[in-house]
Amino acid sequence: MNYPLIWNIAQSLSLARWKQTLVAAVGVMFSITMFIALLGFMNGLNDLLDSLVLNRTPHVRLFNEIKANENQPILLDNRYQKYHNFIRSIKPNGKNAQIANSAAIISTLKKDKRVLGISPKMIAQVFFNVGETDVTGVVNGIDVEAEARLFSFSDYVTEGSYIDLKNIPNSIILGKGLADKMLANIGDVVQVTTAKGDRFPLKVVGYFQSGLGEIDKVQSYTSLKTAQKLIGQSNAYVTDIQIKLHDLNMAPSVSKEYAQIFSTDAEDIQTANAQFETGSSLRSLISYAVGITLLIVAGFGIYNILNMLIYEKMDTIAILKATGFSGSDVKKIFITIAISIGILGGCTGLFFGFLLSLLIDNVPFKTAALPTISTYPVNYDLKYYLIGITFSLITTYLAGLFPARKASKIDPVDIIRGK
């Protein structure tokens, strides 16, 4: 078929009504622009919220849950093996939160090729003494460098320097909420009372803000050594081993494996943060739904404008058919018009969508809950641009198809004789 001729006629027809063509193209452009900006913004937000939690969550966490022993005496007795035994009032056994033989576990983990890094940790419940008042709090003893490298600890230390935690003995970084409650400034010394009643002075070297206010009101960080000293334990005392893997998706299987080998409890990131995954995918779903709705509305615009064009150009269609253009030629002409509108509107829409994303990306956005960002987050993934252009072509094609089919079925005799 003679495509340059089809193209030539399509061009002349759409230029003859260039205002309407422009309106249709602007409709597509607007919807693609919004689609790109909306998805970019929404996914930027998703990434931010994910990183807020997921970046700081170990892929696998080894710990000891305080719970009753699974092997109760009656289960070991041969006589009752075949019975279903009901046991009441069981208490947790003497096993404490400490991970036994932690040094050996850590050295084994370091040899595992799937492991990116390990950060041991211990958690202690304490009271902060402020004058007459005691504030309950939690001290996390961390390996400062590993924590910073694996879980971006440094990002959340908003004032002071995280590395001071390691360099200054008996130092502490307080949650911003906790520090506010205690009226503690950097350089001040706070008094800490442990669960066993020992009292310790610790020097405040910084504040951290996690983005989750409730956490900031109770949590504080010290180096692992300081925390061990605080509760009078040896340097083998560790309550958590946080593991970051090379591949996040392996976490569930690795977690099961470690739980068995090291006979501790193990939790993988997918289990720990299932609700965040759900939230992210729901937000994506909503933004896709809105974006595609916009495109469909633009599609109806094109449909209307092409329909109008066909009514106006009945004579032209009739004469084309009378002089030897077949129905399928006429259909191709109108589909060419529709697709051209789609390409034109789609490409300018991508461009303006990118500009709008840039604009959003530069809007100041400061909130106490999110210390690491200063402007609205935007995701510039090429994927959204590809989806946008694909959908604009599909909707304009469909919007053009029905009017084009109608045009192809016009009977020239009706038009020519009806005059």
Partner: protein, 222 residues
Amino acid sequence: MLLEAKHINKSFHDPVTVPILKDVSIEIPQGQFTSIVGKSGCGKSTLLYILSTMDTDYEGELWIDGTKLTGKTEAELARVRNEKIGFVFQFHYLLNEFSVLQNVMLPGLKLGKISPQELEHRAIGHLRKLGMDDKALKKANQLSGGEKQRVAIARALINDPLIIMGDEPTGNLDKKNTEVVFDIFRQLSEEYKQSLLIVTHDPNFAGRTQRIIEMEDGRVIQ
């Protein structure tokens, strides 16, 4: 025989069945200038649209240039119209979006047998023959009625059709332009042996053609 219609019957079915053409058979030989005359509503235009392949809703057989066209697909018939039939209508039917030259070239571009350059050369030739070559680059809607009809004739000629068909080509023109158009038809007939089949209700026009087919009440009476 250039064009043969055998036992053509056609009825309109809206809202009641009204027979329009009753067992019409005609033959048009190569090179003849024929006119179809008859009163309004006698079916002469309906017959022309069947002969032109645009109307396919009829009984009987239509042969053009030794090929049976009855029962062919819409696309095949479009090709036949493009290649073998030239049209001139009462209301000119030029495409207003295009220039005069483009209007003339369009059926030739569709046929695609010769290069656009050659086609343009040929289109200018036809326009010159009809005294329209100086208007070639004007838009179609800038022309007068008589001028439009001359451009329509040039368009009908572009693919060297076997036959030119006209439905009241002078019906909308004043006396002077009617003469101009008739002279063009006669010239095409005499100098180029072009076959013409023209529906008209102008007895003066019909009287000067080589053969008159007279219709009445859906039948050919002479």
